[in-house]
């Protein structure tokens, strides 16, 4: 059967194919192939096929004369010989036509693996035969590629999210453990820069008059040479609200991001940034009580492809640092409050002894007064009585001197005990001296209450804040007096000895053991069994805090039949070492 097909029909059926005669000359070319040749700058006039195509498949021995016949029945891969930068391959087959094989049909289709290749060749859907599976292939490929891109994006985002959350976790732990706020902020700036590969971080603080931002002096910059000018400018400048990145953050109370500050006229330090780079930056506020107290700024010259995640990261970082600074501010307030309470408790102890102390001071004053009266009334001595007169005078002076010394001791003890010794250094100090100072202000109270004060004290040196140890002892002695006044044959005993590196001081009184329900709450702040207005309820809890600050302990020994408090304070090194 012979079938005659028009070239117009061939154009529709085989738009990328061509016909070759026995001499290898192109005799017909499909419309889409002509289009490609045009796009590649090849004249589509009829010429020898091998001037247009090179054969990639099947592999041929270049030393042998090439014959088309060897391609028969094989997959044919041809490459377009073009000087343009377009690389065009075709796949197809060779078919002999006519009874005597007068023609060869090169039945071809372009070999494409992405849509963009078709666009470059100026090809579109109408250039292909209807229903050409290449479009199915491209659709599937595009869909696959899109899915891959999406999953890659998601993976990339997860990696960054993980990175950011791990960094925030570290910052959170560090902030929670940090005692010193400024050190914490400096460390956070460093960690963020190192982890994210940012170039510069710096802290601004609001000036005392609340009018400007100034450098806190804290910054992180691994490449100081490059940033020398910028650092100097930063440290020299003061910024108003809305001025520069930090000023905007300050005014708005919110994080602010800029994609490039190097060209920003509103950024006063732009000219000092290392040149030839686009500097993106972010500023985050640190607030206390809703007011901006500080601004952190970070700069980077790298393109930040993860901007949405970075924005979330910096926002969370700002929240964390705000919480850190607020926590620190709370602790400072709490410490101040604690100081006031301690001072109040000390004064209360002294207040309780005020009557005794005034009596204590009045006694030596009376002695002095009596001595002076006696000396005024002394008649001039007869020559024979000079020695006797002199000895009377000297005896009076001696008594008065002792009285003065006594008053001095009391005043010294009061001064020591009314002070808040929290800021004092830890020093090696003899326990005997502490006891002497303490007893000087409360001995009269014992005497007036008819309480016997027993002492069995080994002398040793404590590593302590002496004022605070005195405050504990004074507190214990006062409590003991309050507890046992009015009893028959009342007594208080102070025992001190060293044991396993600690100085152990026990204060016992003749009162029976403290009832369980009272004992349980004894160290609770503001718990007191004294009548209203007589005690603050802070003495024992403060004593325990002081002992803990000394790395020691303060306990009620409930194993005894008497009320016994035990204070353990580390010995000064010379004694504690064997």
């Amino acid at each position: 059967m012979e079938l005659i097909v028009s070239t117009a029909a061939l154009d529709e059926l085989l738009p990328f194919s061509c016909l070759i005669d026995r001499k290898g000359v192109l005799r017909w070319m499909g419309r889409s192939l002509r289009k490609i040749l045009n796009a590649c700058g090849l004249a589509p006039e009829f010429q020898a096929w091998h001037q247009i195509f090179s054969v990639e498949r099947p592999e041929v021995d270049e030393r042998q004369p090439f014959s088309l016949e060897i391609c028969l029945g094989q997959l044919l891969v041809l490459r377009l010989k073009t000087s343009s930068n377009l690389s065009v391959r075709f796949r197809g087959q060779l078919v002999a036509l006519g009874a005597n094989k007068e023609f060869w049909l090169l039945e071809l289709t372009p070999s494409v693996s992405e849509v963009a290749q078709l666009s470059k060749l100026g090809l579109s859907y109408p250039d292909f035969p209807a229903g050409d599976p290449v479009f199915d292939f491209l659709m599937l490929l595009q869909s696959e590629r899109r899915a891959f891109e999406k999953s890659e994006k998601a993976r990339h985002r997860l990696v960054w999210e993980n990175h950011f959350s791990s960094l925030l976790h570290q910052v959170a732990i560090f902030s929670a453990e940090s005692v010193e706020r400024d050190h914490a902020i400096a460390t956070v700036m460093e960690r963020v820069c190192v982890d994210l590969g940012w170039d510069f971080a710096h802290q601004w603080v609001v000036t005392d008059d609340g009018e400007h931002l100034r450098s806190s002096g804290r910054y992180y910059c691994p490449n100081r040479d490059e940033f020398r000018g910028f650092i100097s400018a930063t440290q020299a400048i003061e910024l108003s609200k809305n001025e520069g990145l930090p000023g905007i953050v300050w005014a708005q109370g919110e994080m602010f991001w800029g994609d490039d500050f190097s060209e920003d006229a509103q950024f006063p330090r732009a000219k000092f940034l290392p040149t030839l780079k686009a500097w993106c930056g972010v500023g985050i506020p640190i607030l206390v009580g809703g007011q901006v107290v500080s601004v952190l700024e970070f700069f980077s010259s790298r393109h930040q492809s993860e901007k949405p995640q970075l924005l979330r990261f910096f926002e969370t970082l700002g929240t964390q640092l705000t919480s850190l600074v607020e926590k620190q501010a709370f602790l400072v307030r709490e410490r101040e409050q604690e100081g006031y309470l301690r001072a109040s408790a000390n004064l209360s102890s002294l207040g309780e002894m005020a009557a005794g102390i005034s009596h204590e001071i009045n006694n030596p004053l009376a002695t002095i007064s009596l001595g002076l009266t006696q000396m005024k009334g002394l008649a001039p001595p007869a020559d024979s009585d000079v020695d006797a007169w002199k000895s009377k005078v000297l005896a009076n002076v001696d008594r008065m001197e002792r009285s003065v010394t006594r008053i001095q001791k009391i005043i010294k003890g009061m001064k020591a005990l009314s002070r808040d010794g929290q800021g004092d250094p830890f020093v090696a100090y003899p326990l005997s001296q502490i006891l002497e100072d303490t007893l000087s202000v409360c001995a009269t109270r014992f005497k007036n209450s008819g309480i016997e004060l027993r002492q069995q004290v080994d002398d040793f040196q404590l590593l302590c804040r002496p004022v605070q140890i005195g405050q504990i002892l004074l507190n214990l002695l006062n409590n003991a007096v309050d507890a046992i006044s009015g009893r028959t044959d009342p007594w208080v005993e102070v025992r001190a000895f060293s044991h396993e590196g600690f100085g152990v001081i026990e204060v016992s009184d003749c009162g029976g053991p403290i009832p369980d329900e009272v004992a349980k709450r004894l160290m609770t702040p503001f718990f007191t069994t004294k009548e209203l207005g007589k005690g603050t309820g802070l003495g024992l809890s403060i004593s325990r805090t002081i002992a803990a600050a000394h790395q020691g302990s303060f306990t009620l020994d409930r194993s005894r039949s008497t009320t016994t408090f035990v204070l353990k304070i580390p010995l000064a090194p010379a004694l504690s070492c064997p």
Binding site: V115, L118, S119, Y125, A130, D136, L140, Q142
Partner: protein, 181 residues
């Protein structure tokens, strides 16, 4: 419909009205999980429910919403990576419309459950065209109007699209398109 359509509905609502409105729309339509998979087929009623609830929540006409969605679909598919593919089916509006059936046929390879509409375009002269729209789904004619306007915009044209009254004897909707510029 495929998840890609539901994703586009979500994107349109979120970008224009915010995440909160979208959450309300989901609750009202009984959609618990709005993480639609683009290449997974979902029941049609889910998409209809979303559009219906959106109209209620936003106080908008469902037809207007569908039209806005049709126009947005062109932008959305382009940003989802199918823009280049769409370009292959025609570098001008009319060629593109003529090849829509072919495009849908090829899309069937990656979306085997696709039930695409069918279009017939006929030139009336003087830059006026008749477009016949055949679909198994009811009520989506406003979306086609939006699609036509979106496609025209993509090719730099302005068109007037008019939907003709439906002839109950016919199985399609008829649109008149006039290319204004």
């Amino acid at each position: 419909m495929y998840g890609l359509v539901n994703q586009a509905v979500r994107d349109l609502i979120v970008s224009r009205f915010g995440q909160e409105k979208w959450a309300t729309i989901c609750r009202r339509s009984g959609v618990n999980d709005d993480e639609f998979e683009a290449m997974k087929a979902y029941p049609d009623h889910l998409t209809y429910a979303l559009v219906g609830s959106a109209a209620e929540v936003l106080g908008a006409d469902a037809g207007d919403l569908l039209k806005a969605f049709g126009e947005y679909w062109i932008t959305f598919t382009a940003q989802e990576g199918y823009g280049e593919m769409l370009d292959l089916f025609g570098s001008d509006l009319i060629t593109c419309l003529k090849n829509l059936n072919g495009m849908h046929a090829h899309m069937g390879v990656m979306m085997p459950e696709l039930q695409p509409p069918r279009f017939q375009i006929e030139e009336m002269g003087d830059k006026r065209y008749q477009l016949r729209y055949f679909s198994k789904r009811a009520g989506l004619a406003p979306m086609v109007m939006g699609l036509l306007e979106g496609l025209a915009k993509k090719h730099g044209n302005t068109v007037k699209v008019q939907q003709m009254p439906r002839d109950p004897a016919q199985d399609h909707e008829l649109f008149l398109i006039e290319i204004v510029s």
